[in-house]
């Protein structure tokens, strides 16, 4: 037991959790917390907008696979992080957000900068705490990290009234904690694993569909050994992009609305789908009723509520995919040595790939999204980290940028938050400073959080903004071209702003490229640079993303644009 203020106990508890960096911005209601930060053993990174603090914590968390931490004051500070919480929640990212709140006695009085952040954030947090006495804080922090990181991860909010931050108490810092009513750990049911083994062994055309759960769990080696043992082609969801090396002979890339054509094609020809840590989102599967019809579906997921939510399945293996995959591989290896590589299904796989390679035409320009991204892949080391913004830029990244080293590609996929990629890249850089980090960006998205350039420059976290600039809310424009007879409405950015000047205004580096040669040079310069670099790459505003599975249609209805 040690006596200290609530604010001090918060900082101390964070240190005890091993937190080394927090992202935030102060205000009246979290002044005591900011005071307690002085001299603390953790790095505070001051942001220019609280939304970015949450996205930075998110980017950090995706790399470290443990909770990122952000701070905001009450009222507008707290509401500014809501988009960040919702983004993390949609993508199951562990995060602990700490907000200041008006003093206890003022709650409910419509006090200055009072907002019911617990109510507001309820649907987009895994849990929220509001400690009422200072002495509760250490235990609340312990619980927050435990809840946020265990089971299916997610953001947890701690809302601390100012007087609770200021009050002193005898603090006890627990090492272990139990939360009644929360039992996230489950071991795979062996009889279900046995049924999965049977289905996989009798399948003639099996396919693995790897999702975000594989990345969250870090089950890369396990996934690869299963695929290689059974010689099963692997498609991923977009969130699962990079769960499996995309240059692997069994890799087929992401499926879905803007999936790789060969991936969409092969999955509808399969007879057995093994979904690993994927939640059958509408963007992945097209129509729920059509997807997987007549096939056996095996679903591995840590969240029991995902079983049967969107798709009825034949076998469900509930548990962490890392251990479930291990169990599955162990049981399978007892039955077979290794599948031979030349079977009709793998031949069919080759045919499909070849078909699309020959039939898809490239957009006829000297500089295109596809060429730019292939160039980036060529130069960026395999362990380089990529985040993305949202829109065409994101889908082009999915289609044309192959992830080689698993777990190096991160995007706001569930919420599709424009403005996520850039702050997330800074958070990723803070987590892994020794590797280059690139935000594959669109102009509209970059606009939303570009003021984080200040953070990148001042905190010496140099990242690369790979700006595919069509001066257009391009993805929306594509839908207007496709579904609204080219009636453009609210999508033009009118050559504003000048991104080179924006970069320079913050003390970063801005390079505009007009040719593939210039682009190559710019990427090399950026990787070596010790300040943030914005590479402004002009992209034709009419360039569409193909293939495209229109909403409400099935994967078989894919439009390839060819």
């Amino acid at each position: 037991m040690v006596e200290m203020t609530g604010a001090k106990s918060l900082i101390h508890a964070l240190e005890k959790e091993g937190v080394d960096v927090v992202f935030g911005l102060p205000g009246g209601a979290n002044l005591p917390i900011y005071d307690a930060l002085v001299g603390a053993n953790l790095r505070h990174i001051l942001v220019r907008h609280e939304q970015s603090a949450a996205h930075m914590a998110d980017g950090y968390a995706r790399i470290k696979r443990k909770s990122g931490v952000c701070f905001a004051t009450s009222g507008p500070g707290a509401t500014n992080i809501v988009t960040g919480l919702a983004t993390a929640h949609a993508d199951s990212i562990p995060m602990v957000a700490v907000t200041g709140q008006v003093p206890l006695a003022m709650i409910g009085k419509d006090a200055f900068q009072e907002t019911d952040i617990i109510g507001i954030s309820n649907p987009c947090t895994k849990y929220a705490f509001q400690p009422r006495v200072a002495g509760e804080i250490p235990e609340v922090v312990k619980k927050a990290f435990y809840i946020s990181e265990s089971g299916r991860p997610g953001p947890v909010l701690i809302d601390i009234p100012k007087d609770v931050q200021q009050a002193t108490a005898d603090m006890h810092f627990p090492d272990l904690i139990k939360v009644r009513g929360y039992n996230p750990a489950t071991d795979a049911d062996m009889s279900e694993v046995g049924r999965a083994v049977e289905l996989l062994l009798k399948a003639e055309r099996p396919i693995i569909m790897a999702g975000g759960g594989v990345i969250l769990s870090g089950a890369f080696a396990e996934l690869q050994s299963l695929a290689e043992l059974m010689m099963i082609p692997v498609v991923t969801t977009f969130k699962g992009k990079g769960a499996f090396p995309e240059n692997h002979p069994l890799a087929m890339g992401p499926i879905g609305m803007h999936g790789h054509p060969e991936a969409n094609k092969i999955i509808i020809e399969a007879d057995c789908i093994l979904a690993v840590g994927a939640r059958f989102s509408d963007r992945s599967v097209g129509r729920f009723d059509e997807f997987g019809k007549g096939m056996n579906i095996i679903h591995m997921d840590i969240d029991p509520a995902e079983i049967g939510k969107n798709k009825s399945v034949d076998v469900a293996i509930v548990g962490d995919v890392k251990s479930s995959l291990r169990t599955l591989v162990k049981m399978l290896s007892k039955k077979i040595v290794k599948r031979e590589a030349d079977n009709p299904w793998l031949k069919r796989r080759k045919e499909i790939i070849q078909y699309y390679q020959e039939s898809l035409k490239d957009y006829p320009r000297d500089v295109t999204a596809k060429k730019s991204l292939k160039k980036l892949r060529e130069i960026l080391p395999a362990n380089g980290i990529v985040t993305t913004e949202v829109g065409q830029c994101q889908m082009w990244a999915s289609l044309h940028f192959d992830v080689i080293s698993p777990g190096t590609f991160f995007s706001s996929t569930g919420l599709g938050t424009m403005g996520f990629g850039f702050p997330a890249s800074i958070g990723a850089k803070a987590a892994r400073p020794q590797v280059p980090v690139v935000d594959i960006a669109g102009d509209g998205s970059f606009n939303m959080t570009e003021n984080s350039l200040a953070v990148s420059v001042l905190e010496k976290l140099p990242v690369i903004v790979f700006l595919m600039n069509n001066y257009m809310l391009g993805m929306v424009a594509q839908w207007q071209r496709t579904f609204y007879n080219r009636r453009y409405s609210g999508v033009h950015q009118h050559q504003c702003p000048d991104y080179v000047k924006i970069a320079e205004a913050y003390g970063a580096q801005g390079i505009r490229t007009q040719s593939m040669e210039e682009l190559e040079k710019a990427i090399k310069t950026a990787i070596k640079s010790d300040v943030a670099t914005v590479i402004d790459i002009p992209i034709d505003p009419d360039e569409d993303v193909y293939p495209f599975v229109a909403p409400g249609t099935g994967l078989k209805d894919m439009i390839t644009g060819a």
């Binding site: 309820n122 849990y127 939360v179 009513g181 969240d303 049967g308």
Partner: protein, 165 residues
């Protein structure tokens, strides 16, 4: 299954602390679960409440409802009660117009057949308290509707499994 689905009674043990009811009802709204009634009260353990939820639904939706409830940190235990193996009751207070003596005595008769109690008599109204299954309350309500029901309050169903459980 009837057109609007079957009746399900879901029983949940939840933490007895502020904000729990909000989290649960917000979940129902956000996930589009249609709830007919919900009752909450303390259990034999003062830090736990029992919540009884009734819904007209189908099996798949109820399964999701149960799983989503289980996901809530404050929810300790959830189960769907087998209506044959549980006891369930609802309380209703029904106020109706009752001026002339014939009406009054008719209402008293009905109430006693249904084992209800007259709990208030005013100049122009009588209020009956009646406990039972929702069906029984419906039946009583239908019977006395002719007199003109002026106010009605129903608690929603409370339930427990039968016997040693």
């Amino acid at each position: 299954m009837s057109e609007n689905g079957d009746w399900y009674i879901v029983s949940a043990i939840v933490e007895n602390k502020p904000g729990v009811l909000f989290r649960i009802t917000n979940l129902f709204r956000a996930r589009n679960f249609n709830i007919e009634s919900i009752t909450v009260g303390i259990t034999e353990q003062p830090d736990l409440s029992r919540m009884t939820i009734t819904t007209k639904s189908d099996e798949r939706i109820v399964e999701q409802l149960v799983k989503q409830l289980r996901k809530l940190i404050d929810v300790v235990e959830v189960r769907v009660l087998d209506t044959d193996k549980s006891v369930f009751r609802e309380l209703a207070l029904i106020k109706m117009k009752a001026v002339d003596p014939t009406t009054r005595s008719e209402i008293m008769n009905y109430a006693s057949v249904f084992r209800g109690n007259i709990i208030d008599i005013g100049k122009e109204t009588m209020t009956v308290e009646i406990t039972g299954t929702p069906d029984k309350i419906d039946a009583f309500k239908n019977l006395v509707e002719q007199y003109g029901i002026t106010q009605l309050a129903r608690t929603g169903v409370s339930a427990l499994p039968r016997g040693v459980d």
